[in-house]
Amino acid sequence: MSQSYNRGLIEDFGRWKEFSAGMWAWIFHKFTGWMLIGYLFTHIAVLSSAIAAADGQTMMLAGEQVDAYTGTLQGLESLFIVRVLEVGLLAVAVFHILNGIRLLMVDLGVGLTAQDKSFYASLVLTGVITVASVPTFMAGVGL
């Protein structure tokens, strides 16, 4: 249908400008979902340093000899960029959770008429929570 025929003007008009709330919600949810599963893989990889730590491996962190697990984690945490990424992850997770709740409500047939409002609410809340947690996340960076 859509792909079989190029409508020139009509189909490549940058139609995203005309997207409605539900469409954006769908796109954001997808995007955040992929980020999260990507992170889950990374997360387990990083945590795997526990295996080495249990083996008794150690490493140097800020001039101290610590176990591999503590070293890896705290080492990462000391990087400014990691902290920024963490805030990003928080935003992504919070949006995914809030919109996920919205979707679950939709699935249960609750509050369907407010679906666009609840999407905007998810966005705003995500923003607020993210900003509010910046101090906590950024505390002691570069220690």
């Binding site: 997808k30 979902g33 295996i51 503590t70 984690l73 705290q74 945490e77 959770i97 996920g100 505390a139």
Partner: protein, 121 residues
Amino acid sequence: MAERYSSFTPGGTAWFLQRVTAAFLIVVLAFHFFLLHFVNHASEITFAGTQARMENIGYFLTMVLFLIAGAFHGVNGVYNALVNQGLSGTPKKVVLAVLTIAGALLIFQGIWVALVMSGMI
């Protein structure tokens, strides 16, 4: 006419599980975040601290379930997204296999790590 859809696959179960895991994840993910970012700051995590928490069997089981649910939810989500995008035929089977293996490995690795942390192995 309905016969056109020969690849008859009732998708209800996966859809349902996606919702169930989501509901579970809301709770544990919030708990997880709170515990490891606000109660214990991420930058102050140590092996000892982790071990201490993991030795609690309840916490351990929660984390394992969290992992399984998350892995299923994420991998199934990715798979659904691809299928919705028009993935079909052999590529679809391949993707399903790859994702299943990746998911299984993730869970396997995660449980191993958790067992190590808890000191059980």
